[in-house]
């Protein structure tokens, strides 16, 4: 049977998780049911609030994304970011290599100082 999903470190009890899911779903749906259902369908109340304007299909030309709040920060630190981004090659071996290298340097510093 598949009531226990074995992992390298232990197991997941499938039935316990299903029971948890059922209880969580019950409370979620109950809380959702407490919300308002008296909005008027087919009117503006169905639509997204966009400061009273029509919601644009493609808002790229007229909206400024929230991460632009960090523009100055990113601009000022661009030289450092450039190095950091270039270091993110996507290869786990590289990251483990950085870890080993930094650990080695720190260990050497501790031993020598």
């Amino acid at each position: 049977m598949w009531y226990k999903v074995m992992t390298g470190f232990g197991y997941w009890d499938v039935y316990a998780w299903l029971i948890f899911l059922a209880i969580a779903s019950f409370f979620t749906l109950w809380l959702r049911g407490l919300g308002r259902d008296d909005y008027k369908e087919g009117t503006y109340q169905d639509e997204i609030y966009f400061s009273g304007n029509d919601v644009p299909e493609d808002g790229e030309g007229i909206t400024v994304p929230a991460d632009s709040a960090y523009w100055g920060f990113k601009k000022a630190l661009a030289p450092y970011y450039k190095v950091l981004v270039s270091m993110h090659s996507g290869h786990v071996i590289d990251y483990v290599g950085y870890l080993v290298l930094v650990t080695g340097i720190i260990t050497a510093l501790i031993v020598l100082v």
Binding site: G33, L34, R36, D38, Y39, K40, T43, Y44, Q45, E47, Y49, S51, G52, N53
Partner: protein, 159 residues
């Protein structure tokens, strides 16, 4: 289960959405002063919200410009029932010195049904708080009327 059906008083704090339909910003500054520590209307539960969909009251400042008319109507439509409209300042109440201006639709009640008028140029925070208290009474009346309508519909359906 609808908890609010079993409560006699207004079931939640007053949430307000502020629209500037052409104001000089003087009234908006007074609204902010109403929220600031000296008057601190949030201690009474009233707070500004970021979307009309969460609001009970639409607070409008300034006369309605032609540019803002359609937007104001849409925002009003997005406030769920029961809702009340409160106009802050002389310009919103009567267009004030801008009366007959070429680019105005007029005072707010030319566009929306207004429940509470707060006069002043700009009105003091005390006046805005008193207006909010009057708006609560209006809202309670509207809520009762809505519940009455609903129960009559249910009765008619049962018959």
């Amino acid at each position: 289960m609808k908890i609010e059906k079993y409560l006699d008083i207004f079931p939640k704090s007053l949430w307000v959405f502020l629209v500037n339909s052409g104001s000089c910003n003087g009234c908006d500054i007074e609204v902010v002063a109403t929220l600031s520590p000296r008057y601190d209307i949030e201690r009474l539960g009233m707070k500004l919200v970021g979307t009309p969909k969460h609001a009970d009251i639409l607070l409008v400042t300034g006369p309605v410009t032609r540019f803002m008319k359609e937007k104001l109507e849409r925002i009003y439509a997005q406030v769920p029932d029961p809702k009340a409209v409160m106009v802050i300042g002389n310009c919103g109440c009567s267009s004030n010195v801008f009366y007959k201006s070429y680019n105005l639709v007029g005072p707010v009640d030319n566009v929306l049904p207004v429940d509470v008028y707060v006069h002043g140029c700009p009105p003091r925070p005390e006046a805005i708080i008193e207006g909010a208290a009057k708006a609560v009474l209006k809202l309670e009346e509207k809520k009762k009327a809505l519940l009455r309508e609903q129960s009559e519909l249910v009765k008619a359906g049962a018959e």
